[in-house]
């Protein structure tokens, strides 16, 4: 049979953003794939060169609207390394709470998108319902639901409000109950869900490392790499948590990726509860950062989607000379043809949904 190319995108319900996956099919089997990206390129690295260090925080928020705090935090961390300043202890704990709240909100957004990909509309409604709990907490903390502009070079913008701890505990308790009962039933205990996701989109651990796949997608291949553990930043060293790695057989398929992300929801809740416990109750949360800086600094953090890396160079001016953003999705996208090859065309949606694509950070 003749092979031909099909455009899955740029306007396709699967893409969750604006990008195009060209797939070559032989009958129903995918023989090759070619991601086409760049539709959302806004020239971040160039724009940041003419703005002052603090003003860039608001830009980095918009790199990924689903996971703003993790991105602006990575930028702040890189600039702090360059300036040689360190956030006060309470500031670091507040950041950990903010990061984990954002991670849960981001994973729930992914879950809400992945459900309808597989025809599971209940998943969308439930996940977005619970995501609202965490957006409320973030709003309580920073004043905004999305694009929070919360981390600052040298700390965070404001202290936690008085009732935050109680609200946080109440929401997490409610959420964990939902995860253990409702979510577990509608996703993991559903036979149809298993049939759609198990065994499709396989990638081996060696290939994943070679192609630069990071984050939950790499841990789903059985590689125990979590930057919060491997290269601890902020106060993650003092927190006792278990990186979610897939240990059983059949590693690297869509189901393994789903389970790793899904279990991270619970793990992040535990991190937040621990952080609220161990956090010093008073103290400064921000230091004054110098306006001008010279040198270079880089920071890599465990973003919701993998390894986020900021590399900032300053030349003594109040603006960065060069900023480099390493987006985890950009590198994972290079590896998607491996996951797709040999699968059925109908499964490509189940595969690409499990990768968790965010076009904003991919195209920069």
């Amino acid at each position: 049979m003749t092979e031909f190319w099909i455009n899955m995108g740029p306007q396709h319900p699967m893409t969750h953003g604006l990008w195009n996956m060209k797939v070559q099919v032989d009958g129903e089997t995918v023989t090759d794939a070619k991601p086409e990206i760049g539709y959302l390129h806004r020239g971040y690295e160039k724009i940041m060169e003419v703005r002052e260090f603090q003003k860039n925080v608001v830009l980095t928020d918009r790199l990924c609207y689903v996971s703003s705090i993790t991105w602006s935090h990575a930028y702040c961390l890189a600039v702090e390394k360059m300036m040689g300043i360190e956030t006060p202890e309470r500031g670091q704990w507040i950041r950990v709470v903010a990061l984990e709240l954002q991670r849960i909100a981001s994973h729930l957004m992914w879950l809400a998108a992945y459900g309808p990909d597989l025809g599971l509309l209940t998943g969308l409604l439930w996940a977005l319902r619970e995501r609202e709990l965490f957006l409320d907490l973030i709003q309580l903390m920073s004043g905004a639901r999305m694009n929070q502009n919360y981390p600052r070079v040298g700390g965070v913008r404001n202290d936690l409000p008085d009732n935050f701890e109680a609200m946080c505990r109440r929401s997490i308790e409610h959420f964990l109950e939902k995860v253990d009962n409702e979510y577990q039933r509608v996703f993991q205990q559903s036979k149809v869900f298993h049939m759609r996701t198990e065994g499709v989109g396989k990638i081996s651990a060696a290939e994943a490392i070679d192609w630069g796949v990071t984050g939950p997608n790499l841990r789903a291949c059985g590689v125990n790499v979590d930057l919060r553990r491997l290269d601890p930043y902020e106060v993650y060293e003092e927190i006792d948590f278990e990186p979610q790695v897939w240990h059983d057989g059949g590693a690297g398929d869509s189901y393994a990726r789903f389970v790793c992300r899904f279990n991270e929801l619970r793990e992040s809740c535990q991190i937040i509860l621990q952080a609220l416990e161990k956090m010093p109750k008073t103290g400064p949360y921000r230091v004054k950062a110098p306006r001008r800086a010279e040198g270079e600094g880089y920071a890599k953090t465990e973003d919701s989607r993998g390894e986020a890396l900021f590399y900032v160079i300053g030349d003594g001016d109040d603006r960065p000379y060069r900023v480099k953003i390493r987006s985890p999705v950009f590198c994972t996208m290079a590896a998607t043809p491996i996951m797709l090859r040999g699968n059925k065309l109908a499964d490509s949606v189940a595969i690409l949904g499990s990768v968790d694509v965010c076009v904003g950070e991919m195209d920069k």
Binding site: H41, I209, V223, L230, Y311
Partner: protein, 178 residues
């Protein structure tokens, strides 16, 4: 391609204290005077500066002998008198990161590709060629990735001016001053 075993049991997920000093010592023994500069920047970060001719031998050594299996990031920097291609390479076994700064003359912005060592270099180098115009020789498919195919510039170069220098209006200006 790689001699290092990539099976997961040997990756413990925890960093090894003091690994960066060991990596630096091994690099110094292997390459000696070819390293223009080599230092430990901070915990788990080594920085080396080399000429572009040494890039492939250094990276092959890093990957095959020292177990640096993850090419995290490729950055090109326009220093106005020369270019620099900067590689962040990570070791999952001990949590160490090596930053390789390869220097490139301004009038001949070419450097060897690393796609033979890491497939991850494919997209990363394409992006840097697209935005900065550093040519990675030997790359199998060096085409534009983020910008349109018919775009004629490399916008991250310093000579590519932005529309406005300062992006805000000062209060003094609002009041009618300069």
């Amino acid at each position: 391609m790689s001699a290092v075993v990539t099976s997961s049991p040997s990756i413990t997920g925890r960093s090894v204290p003091g690994a960066e000093k060991e990596v630096l010592a091994q690099l110094k023994v292997a390459f000696g005077a070819k390293l223009k500069d080599a230092k430990v920047v901070r915990e788990r970060l080594v920085e080396i500066v080399i000429d572009r001719a040494e890039l492939v031998p250094v990276c092959t050594y890093l990957k095959d002998t020292l177990g640096f299996e993850h090419l995290s990031c490729v950055t090109a920097v326009d220093w106005k008198d020369h270019f620099e291609s900067i590689y962040h390479i990570e070791n999952y076994y001990n949590g160490c990161m090596v930053q390789v700064n390869a220097q490139i003359p301004y009038d001949d912005p070419k450097i060897a590709t690393l796609t033979g060592l890491w497939h991850a270099a494919d997209f990363l180098e394409r992006e840097m060629w697209d935005l900065m115009g550093v040519e990675y020789t030997g790359h199998p498919n060096l085409t534009r990735i983020l910008l349109p195919e018919d775009f004629k510039f490399h916008p991250l170069r310093k000579e590519f001016a932005q529309e406005v220098d300062r992006q805000y209006i000062t209060r003094r200006k609002l009041r009618g001053g300069k």
